[in-house]
């Protein structure tokens, strides 16, 4: 009951930045409570990852290792985390609001009979009762809710950028090997194959040119691509993004989607073409340094959050702009 656990997320065996943020959050909260924070690494071979986590000043690193934890099989992972919680009885369990976290946290909370708050942007301890105070945007970011829940462990998933990343410390954490009791019968969903697709990483773009509901036909995205090519010569990494309706129409894959359920990005410039500015889109791009909107509707919300606006038809403006930039 006197420990905060932090679930480690990794990508290709490397520690994810969001985990370093979570470690910072866990360490800070542990400091407030006068208890310790430890990390949890899950997989079939966790030695290298555990070693890199061990240099961030946590009390312990739990290596939860089992052959069934290879890759990410949610049934096995949930089983292992449930087992770990029963073994260690943590007071707080911090999980990233990542692909893995979103999947395991609700199921884990259900099994532990506690209430989960997802996608928190802020966490603190209520000095009166020691419970976690959970800050979470709702209605796409139109309101900020602060909630508290009874029960132990206190489980939350945490949005990226909620804490500054932890720096490496001098001392090494104690690494504890844990072998969860898992068996094949727990696995109800079978993975047949994983198909890798070319995935754009919009958070690596210097400029994102995004189209929305106002784009009349799929082929019109070629105009956005032409602008991307024209800008690419001088503006670094220029990528194409979109708002949700475009993915719903199957015109673009979801890796291009910007917003609450897509990428949350902060490029040097964001060019919104035919995007009216529904709030769940805005939360994904509002941290852009400069925002430029092109839209036929002068009253639309996108203009209210933009630095520059052009009221007009993208079909006229984009080709003219490309021509100008290429001169």
């Amino acid at each position: 009951m006197n420990e905060i656990l932090v679930l480690v997320d990794s990508k290709e065996g490397l520690l994810e930045n969001r985990t370093l943020e979570l470690i910072r959050g866990g360490s800070d909260l542990a400091g407030d409570l006068g208890i310790e924070a430890s990390a949890v690494v899950v997989g079939d071979d966790t030695s290298a990852l555990a070693k890199s986590v061990a240099s961030y000043g946590l009390k312990k690193v739990y290596r939860v290792e089992h052959p069934l934890l290879k890759g990410f099989q949610p049934d096995a992972w949930v089983g292992a985390l449930e087992w770990l919680c029963r073994q260690t009885s943590p007071r707080i369990f911090l999980i990233s609001h990542s692909f893995v976290g979103k999947e395991v946290a609700p199921r884990l909370a259900c099994r532990l009979k506690v209430e989960l708050t997802t996608d928190c942007v802020g966490l603190s301890i209520d000095p009166k009762d020691g419970l976690l105070i959970r800050t979470k945007p709702i209605y796409g970011g139109n309101a900020i809710a602060v909630v508290k829940c009874e029960g132990t462990p206190q489980v939350v998933t945490v949005r990226k950028n909620a804490f500054a990343p932890m720096e490496q410390a001098g001392a090494q954490s104690e690494v504890v090997e844990m072998v969860p009791g898992l068996d094949e019968s727990m696995i109800k969903v079978k993975s047949l194959k994983t198909v890798q697709e070319a995935v754009v990483e919009l958070d690596k773009a210097n400029v994102v040119i995004a189209g929305g509901r106002g784009i009349v036909e799929k082929e019109d995205f070629e105009m956005l691509r032409a602008l991307a090519r024209a800008m690419g010569k001088s503006h670094g990494n220029v990528m194409i993004g979109c708002s949700r309706p475009v993915v719903d129409k199957c015109w673009m894959t979801s890796d291009h989607q910007v917003g609450l359920t897509g990428s949350m990005i902060a490029p040097d410039a964001y060019i919104a073409v035919g995007i009216s500015g529904a709030i769940q889109h805005l939360v994904g791009m509002i941290r852009s340094k400069k925002i430029i909107a092109i839209n036929t509707d002068a009253g639309c919300n996108m203009f209210k959050v933009s630095n520059y606006g052009v009221v007009g038809d993208y079909k006229d403006i984009l080709p003219a702009l490309v021509k100008k930039l290429e001169e």
Partner: protein
């Protein structure tokens, strides 16, 4: 195989596409006020579309289950117009502000009351609190497989085969029935429902069962409410927008090109 019985859990929420200027926060009452009509949560519409495609391919029955403190059948009748067979409203004053686990508990009771089901589909998350928990917890409570983030759902040989969106692309997974699948927007938007069809359906008398706590054998003590300590408006996102004007698109392009060059 026999024709599948599909349950789609669909939540009614204020239109999440509403402009932010139509949304305000009552700090005293801790309520979000949205000046927009209620709609079916977008991902739940995607789930319904996935269900209708299965029905088109192999037959079956689709029951839409919608739960809330107060549910409007006029909003939900759209699901029938699109292709669902029946609608059940799960409604009770006691269902207000339930936390996700308790919402799943209520739906679980309702699904057990329906009795026969092969596949339960719902959106990956609802467009109001965006918690993304109910579907996954429902699978736990019913003790059946749960697959999340589907971009395609097919019923095959007594099981369900799902293409699930994963960070590197997609994963093809399989589970036995019954199962819960949470659906993502890559499935595609809900088919268009003609206004005339919708209006005709609104006039047609229809038996829509309403189940509350009593019908589901639940008591207030079985459910947890969200303990909302505080609700506040977000930080102001507004910027001072400089509108680029010109007599022609070319005129505007010249000025815009200058802006673009300064971005570097």
């Amino acid at each position: 195989m026999k024709e599948p019985k599909i349950v789609v859990c669909a939540k009614q929420i204020p239109d999440p596409e509403a402009p932010f200027s139509n949304v305000s926060v009552d700090v005293e009452k801790k309520e979000v006020l949205v000046d927009a009509p209620d709609v079916i949560s977008p991902y739940d519409e995607n789930a319904l579309e996935a269900a209708i495609r299965i029905k088109e391919e192999m037959g079956g029955k689709i029951t839409v289950l919608s739960m809330g403190r107060k549910v409007s059948d006029t909003v939900l009748r759209k699901t029938i117009a699109a292709g669902a067979d029946s609608l059940i409203l799960v409604e009770d004053g006691g269902f207000e502000r339930l936390e996700s686990g308790s919402v799943a508990r209520v739906l679980c009771q309702a699904i057990k009351k329906i009795g026969e089901y092969d596949l339960i589909l719902t959106g990956r998350q609802a467009g109001d609190w965006d918690s993304g928990q109910v579907g996954l917890i429902l699978g736990e409570l019913l003790g059946i497989p749960c697959i999340s983030l589907a971009r395609s759902v097919k019923v095959k040989d007594g099981g369900v085969v799902v293409e699930k969106t994963v960070p590197v692309g997609y994963e093809v997974v399989e589970a036995g029935l019954p199962a819960v699948v949470t659906v993502s927007n890559e499935v595609g938007e809900l088919r268009y429902v003609a206004r005339t069809k919708m209006l005709g359906l609104l006039r047609r008398p229809m038996v829509i069962p309403k189940w509350g706590m009593k019908e589901l054998g639940l008591e207030a003590g079985d459910l947890r409410k969200v303990n909302l300590v505080e609700l506040s408006p977000p930080a102001d996102m507004r910027r001072e927008c400089v509108f680029i004007e010109g007599a022609s698109p070319e005129d505007m392009a010249v000025k815009l090109a200058t802006v673009f060059r300064e971005l570097r």
